[in-house]
Symmetry: none
Subunit: 254 residues, 2 copies
DNA sequence: TCACAGTCGCGCAAAGTCGCTCACTCGCGC
DNA sequence: GCGCGAGTGAGCGACTTTGCGCGACTGTGA
């Protein structure tokens, strides 16, 4: 990536987060810590940020992204998102489901040379100013409360797409491996997504076992990879493994 | 390709992307990196762009056609938008083109019991939290600088819609009534819009006569209503009237 | 005060980019 | 046809940037 681009992105990151350690800056910019340090020095000398021992602080006012506090198991979701981001390869076309877990994933995808297609309006907000990411919005009716697009337009858009990877969220996973959702209107969209991707990755934190939900999205046989965390019900995970699903269990440190 | 042409295209690319590495510039211009570098040097010396190691940055704040043009002839645009809003009836399905004029119209449509379909991301921002307006986004690739959606997804979404009214913006109207636009990728979208609406309303402030633009969107016969203001070229307006267009001329007080 | 873990700064090798030169093509006038 | 000049693409040495290792430094807790 161009240094100029990196600098911009660094400042944007800092505006969002307020404070960041060098290690995370390096990781999220996809460069070594040495380079991250050099960038920090440059921008520090230019007065665009304040350098502190071990990282940097935003000089410009921090703009808090909307309802971040509304997310309950944020740490878990972040961990899953980091793991999911590692699955993504440069050049991929990635399809992101609605929900907050996939939003966390989007935040990990900044600066990647990929195409992101989504009906998740929070993901749009997150990635719209990223110069590297090509962003595609599916059509559909806006549902402000769920920050999503739904309807036959969404489904027909999906019919025109084929993604390398789909990252699917869920409201609950039953012991027999059924993947659920709470809102009926989202179901056909999710099912259309399943048909528009080569690989399907399900993101589900421990609290999604069994979680809630009334409508069945799919079964374990439709999933290729399940990313979850330690505390998840082992019996359910076994069901997924039996169905040939690659199960990745993340350890989340408190 | 002629060098002059290439330079123009390079600047346009840069305006859209903000930052670009030499490799991508060369590729998208269809020349070798050596030539791309020479072009960058020329334009850098002429002060048209800022050269950075490995690429180039658009001169000064990335030209946001929006932010700037939005304040240009704002009073005119507001007047046209008010008039246009009066055309809209409750229950209508309204299709809004990209651009700043239609954004002004969106501002006038708050609280109306209507459905708004658009590829204009500024309109989405404006109306997303409005409880009365049902908002439908067309799909497509996000172009952050123009705050629009483009591509075959946008066109195919339009194929699934039929609106009561289309409100069309333009970059210029020729004396013979041809309606123009500057950016090629938007043209098929606008044309698809023309085919998806019962009534077509063109919004064009005085400065759009003749304005700018290289690509033809449509002719006067495709327009049902033209909303413009006093200062517009009367000969051009006559052409529209002859073609059976209802021409509404707004008086704007300074 | 001291130990220790984490962070920083510097030198070095590798990779990428730049600027220069040179050969080639094309259009133009003689 | 032939030379001329402008523009382009390729090769090559010089330079810049990057990532890594190592020793010096800073902050924290005993």
């Amino acid at each position: 990536m161009l240094r100029e681009n990196r600098h911009r992105q660094l400042l944007r990151l800092l505006r969002e987060e307020g404070v960041l350690p060098v290690g995370q800056i390096a990781e999220r910019l996809g460069v070594s810590e040495a380079t991250a340090r050099r960038d920090l020095d440059d921008l520090g000398k230019a007065g665009r940020l304040t350098r502190v021992y071990g990282g940097a602080v935003a000089r410009e006012p921090v703009e808090r992204p909307f309802a971040e506090e509304a997310v309950d198991d944020l740490a878990d979701k972040e961990a899953l998102a980091r793991r999911a981001a590692a699955e993504v390869e440069d050049g991929d076309v990635v399809l992101l489901d609605i929900g907050t877990t996939t939003l966390q994933l989007a935040r990990q995808l900044h600066g990647r040379k990929i195409t992101v297609a989504t009906s998740n309006l929070a993901v749009y907000e997150e990635l719209k100013d990223d110069a590297e990411v090509t962003l595609v919005l599916l059509g559909g009716q806006v549902r402000p409360n769920y920050r999503s697009l739904v309807g036959h337009l969404t489904e027909s858009s999906l019919g025109q797409l084929y993604a390398d990877r789909l990252f699917l969220g869920t409201s609950g996973v039953l012991p027999d491996g059924r993947v659920l959702d709470t809102t009926d209107v989202e179901v056909p969209v999710k099912q259309a997504m399943l048909n528009s991707a080569r690989q399907v990755v399900l993101l589900a934190t421990a609290r999604k076992f069994p979680g809630t939900g009334t409508a069945r999205i799919c079964g374990p046989q439709d999933i290729d990879v399940l990313i979850t965390n330690q505390a998840s019900d082992p019996d359910t995970l076994a069901v997924f493994r039996e169905a040939g699903v690659e199960v990745a269990v993340e350890v989340v440190q408190a």
